[in-house]
Symmetry: C2
Subunit: 547 residues, 2 copies
């Protein structure tokens, strides 16, 4: 449901690109080549990102450019998000559904602004078997125009409201810009919630409830800090009334990223699709029927883009760093201090101890695994699991068995602590909680340190060039936003940061108007001026170069 | 992964058909028109089915012919299946993934038999935005050709095996036969598991483990009895080695239905896609390398077709009958005996009692809801929830409050029992278990009563015409199967049973060679003859007209 209409000129589509090499690369199981990351996050960010997502086995490039394979290592993160979010929205009264993927052209084109926002990116099915279809079918880029004709049919009375449905599905947006794993892909997975209410008040309330759930997905599950806010007129969802958003920040590139959006659609779609209901007040005193009312609608979506944000924020030069709550494997147990000279007794003692640890951790609901492959060295295994971002490593050797302990190593900061065997499940659980909290706090400190307040235009572009996101007092006029983008695009910027995307001279967009305005810097009506155009400022607004 | 290649001549595709009527029908919330089912299951089965699935609000017809909307009432059943099955296969070591939906033509065409099985039904994306794609992309009809090039890349050593992945997704098979809700739809939802093993033994073991999970989905969740068996050569999956299946039976039409399939693919795809691994035995004694081995593969799938089978087997003239384990609402609580003359005291007492009941049921993990709409009569509500198939109705009136009881009415057989308030959660749980068990047992008795053993050809077609499925001693020759289909197609059959599908003179196919052969009727090699062609029979085989 993102309103990011591509401004790029469509180039002829290349269906097949990035095909897997015919020559077989050395595999992870046989050798050293893929064991590490060859690029530094701070130096070659784009290459670093590509290596981390592929070598950690989160993702594989696919035969069709812009489409990627989500492997178990990333899909598990998505599953954890799905489980948590589904449970939360069911508590709110939202029900699961599945609507077809194909949209007849006439439905897609019903809402003018909406179709303009998506038309350039729509994939069309024109043939089935050897027959041409009478009418081409769009593959859904989002489902407003799929669903709302039926909402209109189902809603008759105010008693049919609210109608609150959600689906988890794939959508296709055939972007012609450079694709990027997770962040910009031609097919992606998401959930889309579509709801209708009798009153604006109820609808508004839900928009912000969902927005806060999105905040929790990012902050509590993925340990990624986000800023809740409202989109500018220019950046809002095509055809909607207003868009709320959670905005993330990638420190290495200094760019903001739209993390998830919750839209108040108003009555616009309801009018287009004829979603009306009888006025619950009944007829007028004179007996005449009151005019039918239009429903107030919302739509809201969170996609697999979230996985990319998580990787970019937490990863380091050793590879992926996974937040414990969503990691497929939270603890990797590695037998240590066993070699060809070890006694059979020691071997057995370590094996038995590890079996017991795994049992205890599993019982406590912790996702743990042992790496007991005999063909690899301990050092190799350490690297292997560090690259994959497992939050906690437990080392168990003969001495540890004797001393009734294990050595725990944190992936996020490398810290090592000894844990007692008697309390191992509890201690590991505490450690995982600590890692989760520390990861979030560190990311938040970094984000906060890179968010600057600028009131004078001359400080704006230097701040962007210094990889900051920038809060300015702003007039909220679309023309001013265009001008800001234009003015901030002219500066030269080191290409390293941006070579993963677009031209190096990218201008800044408004990311959001934060819900929480700075208390200590009030905007004074008629006094505070827009940092760009000098007109009266309305609210502090967050600007930045962005994904 | 069904091997049902359409033999029908493709007609020009009609993209838009069955469009929702522009004129608004009376809605469920306002009136009587949609409250009941107008057709008898035994008389007008096809119309009955269509009304049940739409008026129960399981499904809505969609603008694109052959595509349907799964509403919350059916999607919840699918969710319950998903949750249960995902948990079971994770225990086996299968991991979740997501592969792209688009298949380049050259990949799709790699396995000759396989592509022949699907080519006539493939939907093609040929355009994106306003640009033609360089190469058309197929929308996956199944994912063998999407996945296996990457399996080949990932598998190098025997240590990379087994590789066991599963995805829940949508697939498209543009069938030109008459579409039917759930049973034959152009887009449907399913899970597809794709696994690779080092040895045939391991692969075979999994095929049957999964087959038994499918049996459990049908028998334990959907209360639908199925027969486990192996498909004939003619009916097996295109490109595979052998296909196992669970086969259901729809008594009203007397037709068999393929419920889910688990395929042993052998090494065929591994050879096509180059999925090889080093021989774990290492080099030969003379130092030469042993030739690389090919992996043994399986694929297995269960689709939303299962929901249709459930409806057809259990539904009755009042509408849907849902098995408790998968019902979105297991218990509907309805306040009774309250009218305009009721005292305020009585009203409050009933409301409070119902609130307490709901609390207790929820605590016990039972999905319960109250229908306290004041605008509808009690009788209307009874019909409303019976049509929707809620397994248990609880009636609570002022007298029930005084007597500390409630009246429970079973949807499956209409039986009413009084339950004590003190033990209500426990009693309701027991009742739901009983309903689930009884529904399965009844369906099994009916199925068993309609499965006949025939050894003489003259009894074969009369049995089919009597809506039986038929076990015969069979030679297992493809030519004989063709002949059986041909010979059994010539008879006239009342059109009522078959008007939902195909020509009225449908011939019988082999449904499966049951794993469990009748103990009391042994096939004697060289003595028992095929009931159709008279050659030596190999095993008892189940034949039937089928979906």
């Amino acid at each position: 449901m993102s309103a990011e209409a591509s401004a790029a000129t469509p180039k002829p589509a290349k269906a097949v690109k990035n095909a897997p090499k015919a020559k077989k690369e050395a595999s992870s199981s046989t050798g050293a080549i893929q064991i590490g990351i060859e690029y530094k996050k701070d130096v070659d960010f784009a290459k670093w990102y590509q290596q981390v997502v592929t070598r950690s086995e989160m993702l594989e490039y696919y035969d069709v450019s812009g489409c990627y394979i989500l492997r178990p290592w990333s899909y598990k993160v998505w599953q954890e998000i799905q489980t948590w979010f589904t449970n939360e929205i069911e508590e709110l009264g939202v029900e699961g559904v599945y609507f077809p993927m194909f949209v007849p052209a006439k439905n897609l084109e019903k809402e003018k602004d909406h179709v303009e926002g998506f038309a350039a990116e729509v994939a069309w099915v024109t043939r089935a078997g050897s027959s041409d279809l009478e009418e081409p079918l769009a593959v859904r880029p989002t489902s407003e125009t799929v669903m709302y004709p039926y909402y209109a049919k189902w809603v008759r009375s105010h008693r049919d409201l609210p109608l609150r449905l959600n689906q988890w599905c794939n959508v296709v947006r055939w972007e012609f810009k450079n694709p990027q794993p997770f962040l910009r892909t031609r097919e992606f997975l998401w959930q889309e919630g579509h709801t209708a209410f009798a009153t604006k008040e109820e609808a508004d309330k839900e928009v912000y409830q969902i927005l806060d759930l999105y905040r929790q997905v990012y902050e509590d599950l993925l340990a990624v800090p986000v800023i809740k806010g409202v989109k500018s007129e220019k950046e809002k969802f095509a055809g909607g009334l207003y868009t709320t958003t959670v905005e993330g920040y990638v420190p290495t590139t200094g760019r903001g990223i739209q993390a998830a959006t919750s839209h108040g659609l108003g009555q616009n779609f309801a009018k287009m699709f004829g979603m009306t209901f009888e006025d619950p007040q009944g007829p007028l005193p004179n007996g005449e029927a009151r005019p039918a009312l239009h429903a107030w609608q919302n739509s809201w979506g969170l996609s697999t883009r979230s996985l990319g944000v998580m990787v970019m924020v937490h990863g380091d030069d050793k590879g992926l760093v996974l937040p414990p709550r969503v990691a497929a494997v939270q603890v990797i147990v590695i037998p240590c201090g066993i070699n060809t000279k070890s006694s059979e007794e020691d071997r057995i003692a370590v094996d038995e101890r590890i079996a017991d640890i795994l049992k205890q951790l599993k019982k406590a609901g912790i996702r743990a695994r042992v790496d007991d492959r005999s063909t690899y060295s301990v050092g190799y295994k350490f690297n292997h699991w560090e690259l994959r971002g497992v939050p906690l490593r437990l080392e168990v050797g003969p001495k540890d068995v004797k001393n009734n302990q294990a050595l725990a190593a944190r992936r996020d900061n490398g810290e090592k602590v000894t844990v007692k065997h008697e309390t191992i499940a509890e201690d590991v659980k505490d450690l995982l909680d600590t890692v989760q909290r520390d990861m979030f706090n560190r990311a938040k400190e970094t984000r906060d340190a890179n968010l600057v307040y600028v009131e004078d235009w001359k400080d704006f572009v230097p701040a962007l060039d210094d990889k900051k996101i920038v809060m300015i007092p702003w007039c909220e006029e679309p023309a001013c936003e265009d001008e800001i983008k234009d003015k901030s695009a002219r500066t030269g910027l080191a290409t390293a940061e941006l070579q993963d995307d677009k031209a190096p001279s990218m201008g800044a967009k408004s990311l959001c108007i934060p819900l929480e305005q700075p208390q200590d810097k009030p905007i004074v009506a008629g006094v505070t001026k827009c940092a760009s155009c000098g007109k009266d400022a309305k609210r502090w607004t967050l600007f930045g170069r962005s994904y």
